[in-house]
């Protein structure tokens, strides 16, 4: 039984997302929203819906909307480059476990969750640092970003694309870009909104940490490991040494990737600016 004094003991909070993670999420969130807002109305122009016409108009007209879309796409590509470097840092410098990698365990968890919901299993799966639902979401984002960047390149640079691919790949890219966009937005609305807004308002992506109660509910295995003190950590001097190797290498790779983005963005302007009509 708890005494009144217990209530004022602050609950222990567990770190979940670093400031870097949270900034990445915010940048991605902003670019995703802008991309969807400027992209989906374009996809549905042919339906002749008055409201969509007004939305496009409110954003400055179709020509402006296309430029905003490209700007947001560039931001998302920059965020992707940052994320890749961050992963490399995790792998080489901090050598922390890649807890987002999917495994057989996640398949079992998913099946157990489905069976539990249908009343066919006695208990919910007990999950680790990232639940199978979060992995579905992360890897969907990875897949979606790859698809959108690849098809976006083709739509942004159609003349160049047609030099090494059949011409019909450009309308095919348009179909995939629009289909994947719709899929991504619907998936976010259903999956993401349910799991972090509706089922339970999960603020950890903004505050960076989770309460003990939330950890018990959502990440019991991780909590157990933390409590048992098994979380490994490298010596600070070792990390500093790896950092010295990592930074120059990462700088070179970052420059190469940024050059790639610059090339992507400025390669040709056909899709935005064509010659004046004759």
């Amino acid at each position: 039984m708890s005494t009144p004094a217990d209530r004022f003991v602050p609950e222990r909070r567990y770190p979940r997302f670093s400031p870097s993670d949270r900034v990445q999420h915010l940048v991605m969130l902003a670019s995703f929203v802008v991309l969807a807002a400027t992209g989906l109305p374009q996809k549905f122009i042919y339906l002749n819906v008055h409201l969509l016409d007004q939305v496009i108009d409110a954003m400055g007209g179709i020509e402006t909307v296309r430029v905003i879309h490209r700007f947001a796409a560039t931001v998302l590509m920059l965020a992707t480059v940052y994320h890749l470097l961050d992963l490399a840092h995790r792998l080489y410098v901090r050598r922390v476990a890649l807890s987002m990698l999917p495994g057989y365990r996640d398949l079992l968890d998913a099946l157990q969750a489905v069976r539990y919901n249908l009343g066919l299993a006695k208990r919910r799966p007990r999950m680790d640092r990232f639940t199978w639902e979060e992995k579905v979401e992360y890897w969907s984002l990875v897949w979606g970003t790859i698809v959108m960047i690849a098809t976006g390149f083709m739509l942004w640079n159609p003349v160049a694309t047609a030099r090494f691919l059949p011409g019909q790949f450009i309308p095919a890219a348009q179909v995939v870009h629009g289909g994947e966009a719709l899929l991504a937005v619907l998936a976010v609305l259903v999956w993401h909104f349910y799991s972090v807004h509706l089922r339970h308002l999960n603020r950890s992506m903004f505050t960076g940490d989770m309460s003990e109660h939330e950890m018990e509910e959502e990440h019991p295995l991780e909590l157990e490991r933390i409590r048992s003190g098994l979380e490994p950590s490298a010596a600070p001097e070792e990390i500093a040494r790896r950092q010295r190797v990592f930074l120059p290498l990462a700088g070179v790779v970052a420059l190469a990737l940024l050059a790639g983005i610059y090339w992507f963005v400025t390669f040709e302007q056909t899709a935005i600016t064509t010659l004046p009509p004759r």
Binding site: Y46, I62, N117, P171, A172, E180, A187, L275, P277
Partner: protein, 373 residues
């Protein structure tokens, strides 16, 4: 118009009496004006032939309806005729054409909005007025029942416009439309089907350009008409679904005066010289012709670039497998993935509510064991 019986009787009476006297009046004028070789000299040196072909007049729609010469030439009542002060034959024409509005008010009002009238107002005195297209002394009836143009009149329209627009007529005459018109084909457009009649608008404006796909689509989405030539009626929908067409139609809906460099039908297919899709020199089914057309706006386009445009075809597994299968994949992927997610989320939501209720009931039962025996 519905009139009281008394008025109708009066109208009928005057219709029977008046034409006879008016025709007699016209005959008086024709006594002189049917003489060949009579002409009038103007101060600027113009000579105007004032001979009226009596047979043509009598066969004309005006002669037939018994109009009197002074109905239009209201200033000439006596002989010798008074000096009207016209310095040239054009002065005379520009002074007289306004009398058409006495009977043809609707058409006359329309001409006031026309590009011709605007040119006239800007001082281009050669711009067409009523009598430049319709010779009032010989004009035959051009409409039949329900105001539909008679076939002979349709054939004549391009020739009428050609009097001023000869180079354009030359292009039209050899186009897929013009060549068919000469053979008596009633399906092809003449000048007025695209440009309008009487209220002919300026075809060089952004507004005309943005509205033009609808104009072409009027005929090109007409199934029965296109079926006769084995032409697709999907041309508009496939155009609107693509980048060029969606921008153009969006502007047309929201900013009809917006200038745009996105192509409309005639930027690729030609205007007055529009050719059949299989025409070896201009037809867009011929790959080199299509490439040349794309390069007008995309000068760096390579040989496979034109395939990025599906040539108004619906994606099919034979013609454009990449597009077809991409669409087919997302037709399955989107409902499959989102449907699966909805199913899981739905069951999860219900299950968690049931769990919570069970949990609450148990706690309630523990704290108030006697409430529910």
């Amino acid at each position: 118009m519905k009139l009281p019986p008394v008025h109708r009787a009066l109208l009928l009476g005057s219709a029977l009496l008046l034409p006879a006297s008016r025709a007699a009046h016209a005959q008086q004028c024709l006594d002189c004006h049917s003489q060949p070789g009579s002409s009038v000299a103007f101060k600027n040196g113009d000579r105007l032939d004032v001979t009226i072909d009596q047979a043509a007049w009598q066969a004309s729609v005006h002669g037939q309806s018994g109009l009197s010469c002074t109905d239009c030439h209201g200033d000439i009542k006596d002989y010798p005729h008074p000096d009207t002060g016209d310095r040239s034959s054009r002065d005379l024409a520009l002074r007289l054409y306004t009398s058409c509005q006495q009977c043809h008010e609707e058409q006359f009002k329309k001409t006031l909005d026309s590009v011709h009238q605007r040119a006239l107002a800007a001082g281009r005195r050669g711009a067409a007025v009523c009598s430049d297209c319709h010779n009032p002394h010989a004009q035959q009836k051009i409409t039949g029942d329900k105001g539909k143009l008679l076939p002979a009149a349709r054939l004549h329209i391009p020739l009428t416009c050609a009097r001023c627009h000869a180079p354009i007529y030359e292009q039209y005459r050899h186009s897929v439309h013009g060549a068919a018109l000469v053979t008596g084909n009633p399906d092809v457009p003449t000048c007025i089907d695209c440009h309008g009649v009487h209220n002919i608008s300026d075809p060089t404006t952004a507004r005309f350009r943005l509205a033009s796909p609808r104009m072409c689509a009027d005929c090109h989405t007409d199934r029965s008409r296109m079926a006769r030539y084995h032409l697709s009626t999907w041309v508009l929908r496939t155009y609107v679904a693509d980048f060029h067409g969606s921008t153009v139609t969006l502007f047309q809906r929201t900013h009809p005066d917006q200038a745009t460099n996105k192509p409309v039908c005639y930027d690729c297919h030609g205007i007055h010289d529009i050719a059949s899709k299989d025409d070896p020199r201009k037809g867009l089914q011929v790959k080199e012709n299509l490439l040349r057309t794309c390069r007008k706006c995309h000068p760096d386009a390579g040989t496979s670039f034109p395939d990025a445009w599906l040539s108004h075809y619906i994606p099919s597994p034979d013609r454009t497998p990449a597009v077809y299968w991409a669409q087919a994949a997302y037709n399955i992927l989107i409902p499959g993935v989102v449907g699966g997610m909805v199913l899981f989320v739905g069951t999860d939501f219900v299950r968690r509510r049931l769990d919570r209720r069970e949990h609450r009931d148990r706690r309630h039962h523990e704290t108030h064991p006697t409430d529910h025996p």
